[in-house]
């Protein structure tokens, strides 16, 4: 029985981990990670 309980806990953790990764990926893109720190004249944006 204890093994089943641990398995359920692991499953919950895995679901949480995947959710967190997806969330981070999405929000990371929104905040941006540009070498120009979001500089408006950056050639990478306008180029």
């Amino acid at each position: 029985m204890w093994q089943e309980i641990i398995i359920v806990l692991i499953a919950l953790y895995v679901v949480f981990y995947i959710g967190k990764k997806i969330y981070k990926n999405v929000t990371h893109h929104k905040t941006g990670n540009r070498p120009c720190c979001g500089c408006s004249k950056c050639t990478r944006k306008t180029g």
Partner: protein, 827 residues
């Protein structure tokens, strides 16, 4: 915090005064000195200016001026003190002894010096940063290693240095992302002292950036790096005289060995405390014509009275006349901008008429003139110079006929060593994983957790960790090529080919880095100025076979091509390169067909990489790999196990159990009984796998992949490999061997595995088709994320996923179908 952030009625103690020149002098003279108390009396109705009381005098400062004064507020002091008392603080810089006063804390904080490292690419800046901060940032012998600012902390003589390693740049113009990044850092972060790292072997070019920093009027110390190379060449350089001339302390350093770094930071302290005898601000003389223009624009700027206190009017005037677009935008936001710009235009016309060249060129010439003059007085190159080692080596490695064979030979050695040398440590790790699996299997009670541990975690993660030595060997070779300077030569000899692909020679380095990992490789493409080339480089980079795909190749070449492992791997990598060329040409033709700017690439001198640097690089990769093991690979292995383990207690399973029970109770002899039970167990396992969730998914996608020769297990492993390519092997391990966790057993099992018709599931042809599919299809999630970030659009991430999957299918389809046809014809 800044003085401007204190509220009315609050009190603070001054930590430091930032800014420059007359502003700083005036503020200090007013009594804004480190350790002095300042009270906020009131804010004006529009919150500007603010009325302060310091040393008993009332003064009012504009909010922008107050922003340049760092203070520690009483509220902040109480918070830090209480954290210290509770033992909860984790900021060692501001940790104070109990009972320390706010003044003492302010003085302590005032001993924290923000230092920015600025220099040309490949001047040894990152090595210096690593040495000082103890960081392990990778150092490459080519430009663009530092694509983001790296921060580190360092203590010396009671001072704390917060060091920021900025990307390498040749100037402070506003053309490339690096230049803009540095300018933004200098403007916004106001480092207390800038360390300008100069390559002693190339003084003239490196001092160009120094001239611009002098124009910018910031407190600076020059690290004359790689000074040993200058001495070795027999050159004479009176750096002390040059320091006096330009008003900037110069300290010879050898960042590789750490020589001179202590002295460098001692000078930083002196400059910060304004006690350095050499320190003074000078104006570079641009000649009468330009100077007159600068003066006129400066006057116009002064008349507006609204310029930034952190940037000098002279610098702004110079940049305006140079037609710097960023400064012009900044000026346009000011009152009286029209008058300033009109004056600028008048000055530009006058300069260009008189000098008969555009202003930017006039400034560049004047700066090089200044440098040339300064060096003529202080620098004497050794006239008797033998052919350097670099020149001799370059005769061969960049030779138009010998260059390519040497390059291909190095590549072949790299793959052969990865495969052959890696076999030995692989065996040791395999034995360890096997022992752990056996231990858990023998000593743990039956249950789903035991199954998860043995089949899922040890089977999955253990199946991948054995490839760590191969990956490390590959990285050691890449690191050696980068650090020695050979990578830049490879880029040089590949330049013509890269141009035929529609790329720059500079694109070659990110592409070769892709053999290690596509993510840093895609980030390294930032150094390519042309957007077209940068985009194409990023889009084809996933076709460069990264080290995560290596486990799949090692497994399958080991199983099906044991005698020709290195050669098959070389062919796979070459296929990736060939496809990258093909796709780059297509992208150039159909997506990015505009003209490019000309290619410029340095050929740095050869340097023997230190063993320490290579070991640090390998250790970093080991950490990354192990972190991946504990993260995405572990999670993927658990998910695959769950999907393969459930649902339990199905009707078919019960029927098998009943049959097994009946046989066990029957009267047949023991041998027959054991054989029958084993066969039933095998059938039960196969049926269970087919009916499991993963089996259902695999069967659903199999129609798409069966023309490539893949069964449902291979289809599932390919799906799981989308998270990270190593997971392909761990999934194969779980699906084919069930309870086995070593690579040898997996290799044996996939050779034995049969389809329902009795045909082998994996043949050499299927293995080749499978490896090609793994090489090309879906870049891992991290790579897609890097492409999205670097391109600034999800569209390109989706595009890469789409084209790689389609291309993988076409290539594997052609390989499998044509291969089958050839085999039929031969037989």
């Amino acid at each position: 915090m800044r003085l401007s952030e204190l509220r009315t009625g609050e009190r603070g103690v001054i930590v430091k005064v930032m800014g420059r020149g007359a502003f700083r002098k005036r503020i200090i003279e007013m009594g804004f000195i480190r350790g002095k108390e300042v009270d906020v009396i009131r804010n004006a109705p529009l919150k500007d200016p603010i009325h302060y009381r310091v040393m008993g005098y009332d003064v009012s400062l504009r909010r922008n001026d107050a922003k340049m004064i760092e203070v520690i507020g009483t509220a902040e002091f109480e918070r830090i003190s209480s954290q210290n008392t509770n033992g909860r603080t984790n900021q060692p810089i501001y940790t104070v002894p109990p009972d320390e006063s706010i003044e003492a804390m302010a003085i302590r904080k005032g001993k924290t010096i923000n230092v920015a490292l600025v220099g040309n690419p490949n001047c040894g800046k990152t090595t210096l940063f690593n040495f000082a901060s103890g960081a392990h940032e990778h150092v490459g012998n080519y430009s663009g290693v530092t694509v983001d600012a790296k921060e580190g902390i360092f203590h010396q003589n009671g001072y704390t240095f917060m060091i920021v390693d900025l990307p390498g740049t040749y100037s402070l113009s506003a053309y490339s992302p690096e230049e803009l990044f540095i300018r933004k850092h200098l403007n916004d972060e106001h480092p207390d002292v800038v360390i300008n790292v100069i390559d002693a072997s190339n003084l003239e070019r490196n001092l160009y950036l120094t001239c611009q920093l002098i124009d910018r009027d910031i407190r600076m110390v020059i690290a004359l790096n790689m000074y040993d190379e200058l001495e070795k060449r027999g050159d004479k350089f009176d750096y002390r005289s040059l320091a006096q001339m330009i008003g900037v302390p110069i300290v010879p350093t050898v960042s590789k060995t750490g020589s001179g770094i202590e002295e460098l930071f001692n000078r930083v302290i002196k400059v910060y405390e304004e006690k350095d005898p050499v320190l003074r601000h000078i104006h570079i003389n641009y000649g009468e014509t330009i100077e007159k223009g600068i003066e006129r624009v400066k006057q116009a700027l002064r008349q507006t009275g609204d310029t930034s206190i952190s940037i000098s009017n002279r610098y702004l005037s110079i940049k305006l006349i140079e037609k710097d677009s960023e400064v012009e935008t900044h000026i346009r936001e000011m009152q009286g901008a029209d008058a300033i710009l009109q004056e600028r235009d008048r000055s530009v016309t006058q300069i260009e008429t008189l000098l008969k060249e555009d202003c930017e060129t006039a400034f560049t010439d004047a700066r090089y003139g200044f440098i040339s003059g300064a060096l003529r007085e202080t620098y004497e190159p050794n006239k008797i110079r033998e052919a350097t080692g670099t020149q001799i080596i370059d005769l061969f490695v960049t030779h138009k006929l010998l260059g390519f064979p040497i390059f291909i030979f190095f590549m072949w050695i790299m793959f052969e060593a990865t495969f052959r040398l890696g076999e030995y440590p692989m065996g040791w790790i395999e034995s360890s994983v096997e022992w752990i699996g056996g231990f858990v299997r023998n000593y743990m009670s039956e249950g789903p957790l035991k199954d998860l541990l043995v089949d899922g975690i040890i089977g999955g993660v253990g199946g991948v960790i054995v490839f760590l030595p191969n990956i490390l060997i590959l990285y050691a070779f890449i690191s050696f090529m980068e650090d020695s300077g050979y990578m830049a030569r490879a880029a040089f000899i590949m330049d013509k080919i890269m141009h035929k692909m529609g790329l720059h020679g500079k694109s070659f380095i990110p592409l070769v880095m892709g053999f290690g990992c596509n993510v840093p490789a895609i980030m390294a493409s930032r150094t390519i100025e042309s957007r077209n080339s940068r985009m194409i480089t990023m889009l084809v980079n996933p076709l460069m076979s990264c080290s995560a795909r290596l486990p799949v190749y090692v497994l399958l070449t080991g199983a099906f091509f044991p005698q020709k492992g290195g050669t098959v791997m070389f062919i796979l990598y070459a296929t990736g390169v060939f496809l990258a060329v093909l796709m780059a040409r297509m992208f150039k033709r159909f997506l990015f067909n505009q003209e490019d700017i000309p290619f410029v690439m340095e050929l740095p001198p050869y340097r023997m990489p230190t063993g320490k640097s290579i070991l640090i690089h390998m250790w970093e990769k080991t950490k990354q790999y192990l972190r991946k093991m504990g993260g995405v690979i572990l999670i993927a292995s658990i998910v695959i196990w769950f999907l393969g383990y459930f649902p339990r207690n199905t009707e078919k399973g019960k029927a098998f159990d009943e049959q097994i029970a009946r046989i066990e109770q029957s009267d047949v002899n023991e041998n027959d009984k054991t054989e029958a039970v084993a066969e039933l167990e095998r059938q039960k396992n196969i049926t269970h796998q087919q009916d499991s969730y993963i089996g259902q998914i695999g069967r659903a996608i199999q129609p798409v992949l069966s023309p490539l020769g893949f069964d449902w297990k291979m289809s599932v492993s390919l799906m799981s490999g989308m998270a990270a390519k190593e997971v392909v092997v761990s999934t194969l391990s779980i699906l084919y061997t069930g309870e086995s966790d070593d690579e040898q057993a997996l290799a044996e099992q996939i050779k034995r595995e049969q389809e329902t018709e009795g045909m082998p599931a994996f043949t050499p042809l299927v293995a080749l088709s499978f490896m090609l599919f793994v090489l090309i299809y879906f870049p891992c999630i991290a790579t897609v994320s890097a492409i999205v970030n670097e391109s600034g659009s999800w569209k390109w991430g989706a595009f890469v996923i789409g084209y790689t999957c389609l291309l993988a299918w076409i290539v594997s389809f052609l390989t499998f179908q044509i291969g089958q046809l050839v085999i039929q014809l031969i037989h």
